[in-house]
């Protein structure tokens, strides 16, 4: 059943991506100032949003684990963090490449970039921590605590630097600006690509969670083998 869902998601995502890529390269109008490079936004922004949503989903799952003790929440949280990390890295790398052309520099200490980097650092630490602990309960407990602290820290970083440094382009989505900052066709494509990337992310999370469950099964079988 789960395999069917994963395959279904991947196929749907692939079809949507194919359609989106066709639209991005051949149908969408050009941007006045940036040339071709602006089209990177259709992967940059959805990857950023997917990553951020993922971290907060992981926060909720961590809280659920701490209150219920059910390891499934912990496995799901770890998988979500891992996939979100991948998309955050995509976000940072595509952003740097864009910035090299448009701003002339690979990096700047604007609040969004700094928050993105802090996210990557904190959650890489999360994954490193998980790899360093063998005992499942301790691992789950520690990771949950780190995830909670980490997510709140990211919000603090975001808000504090937002007050000070803004070089990154401002919000363009109509839900934040009320319309007018971006061509509606481009905004539509942003959402379409976001759905595609979200589907890929969910498929990857499902696969990863299955692997975590297998890992736990191996663990319990090993204990049985040692006990016997």
């Amino acid at each position: 059943m789960r395999e069917k869902i994963v395959i279904g998601l991947v196929v749907a995502a692939a079809l949507l991506l194919a359609y989106n890529l066709y639209q991005i390269f051949l149908v969408l109008p050009d941007e006045a100032l940036q040339g071709a490079i602006y089209r990177i936004i259709f992967f940059h922004v959805p990857a950023a949003i997917t990553g951020m949503i993922g971290y907060f989903v992981a926060l909720a799952l961590s809280v659920l684990y701490l209150s219920s003790g059910n390891f499934r929440y912990d496995s799901l949280a770890a998988s979500v963090v891992e996939v979100s990390l991948v998309f955050s890295v995509v976000n940072i790398v595509t952003g740097s490449i864009w910035a090299r052309i448009i701003w002339g520099i690979w990096w700047t200490w604007d609040y969004r970039l700094t928050s993105a980097l802090v996210c990557v650092l904190i959650f890489s630490g999360y994954l490193m921590l998980r790899r360093g602990i063998d005992e499942p309960t301790q691992r789950a407990r520690l990771s949950s605590a780190l995830c909670i602290f980490g997510c709140i820290d990211v919000v603090i970083v975001w808000k504090s630097i937002e007050w000070f440094r803004t070089q990154h382009p401002g919000p363009v989505l109509s839900i934040r600006t009320g319309g007018g900052n971006i061509d509606p066709a481009m905004e539509h494509m942003l959402y379409m690509n976001f759905y595609a990337i979200l589907m890929i992310a969910v498929a990857l999370v499902l696969i990863r969670t299955r692997q975590e469950a297998t890992s736990r099964e191996i663990d319990s079988l090993r204990r049985l083998a040692n006990a016997a």
Partner: protein
């Protein structure tokens, strides 16, 4: 205020041990002086640009030397199963955590004072010009560092890779706090007036401290479960 009394009791115990042995304070102070020495080679101490970055240098030193202090915080309880004894005692988890954080806090403040003296000599910086403001900034930022150090010191105490994992985890978490402290300290050391800009960063410090202390107290039972 029973939990506060308990926390002070735990802090007092740690500080008494530290006063007798001076193990982490000596190590941390030596480390801090060594880093300051190296920085004075990396950055020309008398160049104008170095004075601008003096705040940053100081807080880097405090953060790195602080990690040595936190490592000892809970690790000191491991031999003879003292940690188990503490956890089984009537002390609440929140007061134990708070007490450890208070101990860290005092030790770090002492370390900062020592570093400031050395720093003033190496870099010819008159750090005593705004003592009250500097004290407030140091206290707020050091409390933030201490509470995070205590929480993650507790979480990582049983790990075999503790010394490695603790810095890896806490430094990214401390980024907003350190940025705020660096900005304000830089202004104070350069003898510039405090403006709304610095007050905003001060607000960040307070918000960080309040949120993380509240979180630590709320999660204390979970963090300190054996």
């Amino acid at each position: 205020m029973r939990s506060l009394r308990q926390a002070l009791f735990v802090a007092g115990k740690d500080l008494a041990i530290e006063w007798r042995t001076k193990e982490s304070l000596n190590a941390a102070a030596a480390f801090a002086v060594a880093i300051l020495l190296l920085f004075s080679f990396a950055f020309d101490p008398f160049a104008e640009s170095t004075r601008e970055t003096a705040g940053g240098l100081l807080w880097l030193v405090f953060a790195f030397a602080g990690a040595l202090v936190f490592n000892r915080g809970f690790a000191r309880e491991l031999p003879n199963e003292c940690l188990d004894a503490l956890l089984s005692s009537p002390l609440s988890a929140a007061s134990l955590l708070l007490g450890k954080a208070l101990g860290n806090f005092v030790l770090l403040l002492v370390l900062e004072l020592i570093s400031l003296f050395v720093f003033g000599i190496f870099y010819d910086v008159r750090w005593w010009l705004h003592p009250l403001n500097l004290a407030v900034v140091c206290a707020l930022a050091t409390w933030g560092i201490s509470i995070v150090g205590a929480v993650f010191g507790a979480l990582t105490v049983n790990l075999r890779l503790r010394e490695l994992m603790l810095p890896v985890i806490i430094y990214p978490l401390l980024i907003p706090l350190l940025i705020a402290a660096i900005e304000i300290t830089g202004t104070l050391l350069a003898n510039r007036p405090i403006t709304a800009y610095e007050l905003l960063w001060g607000r960040v410090l307070v918000v960080f401290d309040v949120i993380f202390t509240a979180l630590a107290m709320a999660l204390a039972e979970t963090i300190l479960v054996n």
